[in-house]
């Protein structure tokens, strides 16, 4: 490979973002909007006040957890598109505990966390079994179950868990106070949630780098067949990877209910599972790069609803920016590899 000047390296590094901005500008012009104003709205919507910063931090929580989980499944060579459903499963399990159990916060909160992790892990187990026993590609298993989880949530909200005065799209009744994750002062930021997310990504980074388990996962990811021949119980490792990922995603879902909404709402996962997929791709499957990418994604996520309020534009532009950056990242990486070969 040719040595390159540092300036060029930096340019290639930010090229995906620049290209995305160019593309988004074009799209905004097509939609008849002022691009600069739109970008400005997103940025101020994410950073203008401490309140917004707290929102960004809370948006980072599920993204960090889901991305950490997905680093595990990616290491094992799996496309866990079912993360979304695992988030939902965690939220459902947590809701069940929060609505059913009557206990003081010191007991109830840890239980909601454990329930969320167990719910997500169970959902992961299901995907893992369909993949290993049913020999169905995990993309389809996970995706199909995502839709099932959505339907299940709606069923519970409009059925067994419906509030006494009638079901609405706003979800179940609020949880009892004992199931509310504590927040910092009057802000929406919850310290326990943030700490759990940080712990999640750090532990996964460490395990993947230095544990025998991480090495086994890598072996399975590179060549499932050969790993089996080397004596690794590949099916078990695959199921376990899905379960660990499900555990982290389930924790994300749990915190969405206890720390953010304090109830179960129909779209509880908020697309964070899909978004985390993009995060992990953009980080190049490296745990170290995940936090920065997550910050970028969370800022867009928190900032883009502004478009709707102030400019009557659809907030899905945020998703376009996120996915666009990843697309250009992949394409630019491909171009670099191609150029360095020539």
């Amino acid at each position: 490979m040719k040595a390159r000047s540092p300036a060029l390296q930096v340019l290639l590094g930010v090229a995906p973002i620049l290209l995305t901005l160019v593309a988004a500008t074009a799209i905004l012009l097509v939609a008849g909007a002022n691009p600069l104003a739109a970008f400005g709205q997103i940025i101020s919507g994410a950073f203008e006040s401490p309140r917004k910063l707290a929102d960004v931090a809370m948006a980072m929580v599920p993204l960090l957890l889901c991305a950490a989980g997905m680093l595990v499944t990616f290491a094992a060579g799996l496309w866990n598109i079912g993360v979304e459903g695992q988030v939902v499963a965690g939220a459902l399990a947590t809701t069940w505990v929060a609505l059913r159990l009557n206990a003081p916060a010191a007991v109830l909160l840890p239980l909601t966390v454990l329930a969320g992790m167990a719910g997500g892990a169970l959902w992961g187990l299901l995907i893992g079994l369909i993949r290993t026993k049913g020999k169905v590609n995990e993309i389809f298993a996970g995706l199909g179950l995502n839709y099932v989880s959505m339907a299940l949530t709606n069923y519970l909200i409009f059925g067994p868990w419906k509030p006494p005065d009638g079901a609405t799209m706003s979800g179940t009744d609020p949880f009892p106070r004992a199931a509310w994750m504590p927040v910092i002062g009057t802000s929406r930021a919850s310290l326990p949630a943030i700490l759990l997310a940080v712990a999640g990504i750090v532990v996964i980074w460490w395990l993947l780098r230095d544990s025998q388990w991480g090495l086994r996962l890598k072996a399975v990811g590179q060549n499932e067949n050969a790993a089996y021949r080397l004596g690794i119980r590949t099916s078990r490792e695959i199921v376990l990877a899905f379960m660990v990922c499900g555990m982290l995603a389930g924790l994300a879902g749990s915190l969405q209910t206890t720390a953010v909404y304090r109830r179960l709402i129909p779209s509880i996962s908020g697309g964070y599972g899909y978004m985390a997929q993009l995060v992990v791709l953009l980080s190049g499957l490296r745990a170290q790069a995940v936090p920065l990418v997550v910050l970028f994604f969370a800022a867009i996520q928190v900032g883009s609803p502004r478009l709707e309020l102030r400019m009557y534009l659809d907030s899905s532009l945020g998703g376009v920016l996120q996915a666009g950056t990843v697309l250009f990242f992949l394409l630019v990486r491909g171009l670099r590899q191609r150029l360095s070969k020539e």
């Binding site: 025998q212 090495l215 072996a219 060549n223 119980r233």
Partner: protein, 487 residues
Amino acid sequence: MRIEFRNLDKCYGSVRANDKISLTLQSGTIQGLLGENGAGKTTLMKILSGYTRADGGEVLLDGTAVTFASPAQAIAHGIGMLHQDPMDVPALSVLDNFMLGAGRGLAQQRKRSAAQLTELSRQFGFALDPDATAGSLSVGERQQLELVRLLALGVQVVVLDEPTTGISEPQKLLLFAALRKLAEQGLTVIFVSHKLAEVEALCSRAVVLRTGRVVGEVQAPFSSDQLVMMMFGQCFSRGGRPAAPLGDEVLQLDDIAVHTHQLSVEHISLGVRAGEVIGLAGLEGSGQRLLMQACAGIRRVGSGRITLAGQDMTHEPYHRYLQERVAFVPAARLEEGMIAGLQIREHVALAKGNGHLFVRWDEAEAGARRLIDEFRVVGQPTTRVQELSGGNQQRTLLGLLPEHLRLLLLEHPTRGLDVESSRWIWQRLLARRADGTAILFTSTDLDELVDHSDRIVVFSGGAMSRPVSAADVTCEQLGYLIGGRHA
């Protein structure tokens, strides 16, 4: 067609595959191209047939310089190559394969192509079923298909790269007869091989390559010793091996049956004793692979009983076999044996580190160094295994095997390796017998089977012959058995 190479150069990374090769090949002859693995034979032939381009030098056909951008261009100039692994499409039928790449337009001319295929097959005595899928054919038959396909395209030069690897004796004779016929018709046949006997039997002239250079050109009749000297720089004798005392019975197979949708292997009974070496001969796909997989616990047996050191292991999972110290070294080293993308030290950590939560990188590193020294692997602990050469991969794979094995199963342990590497590997393998390890191996190399086995069983169409003693059997006898006849 007369072919001239002038100062051909070709590098792959730091390896100089062809180093200023100059050579002239006359038409109407069968030319041998000899050399051990990595001598540059295949590279040279790939340049000639358009699969790769030279870095320098030129190729002349009947005095005109040519360069081919693709194999198709080479075929248009009358040069066709048969690869060691025939370049067909296994999922398509024989006729589809025959037609693919010939003709233009939308409509197929199936009838005309079928007639042409039948006619060409008949000329050479090939029995090809146009409707069978290419994947269901033996390697020998797939070669026949490729040969008639190239001839139908009107090639004047046929290059054959190690064509006798994995084909039966009768198929070999059929192929040789066909090649002689082609040479008589004025075609140029280039026969690439590292098997002396075949070059001696077939070729009128042989060129020997070593480390990318031409080291000699010889006319028939050849002197074997001279060729070997050219190829290896030294001469080997086929000495006998020390006998090892046999111990108790290690493996007992009672009336085993294994079924796949392509083949059924039935009524296999065999007892193997500690320290014994048993060779499994036969054409590829005759059932020996299935039996090996059954013995390793990788493939479920349909009926019968597998007993390992007195324990019934019939329906036990693979991991139980590993616990019972059974090891399986598959032929596809990089696909089934090792993990491409992982380093040697990571393989060591995987192989030895079970039971620990964390990888001890210093220990893995030291273990990898020991393996590299002891097994003479050219590489570093951090070398990724796919970057190793075939011989070094095989040595690494053997180095990763646990120490005290009860049963060692090997598929083609020396396939694709040069004589020196093969000899070294067999030394290491046979040393394990002192430990009471029983060895089962498959091979299509008769010499290897006779040289290293105590007993040999021959597979043919899913049936296994009675074991014969390797000391009493001749290569000719084995050839007959493999072809499905009784000696």
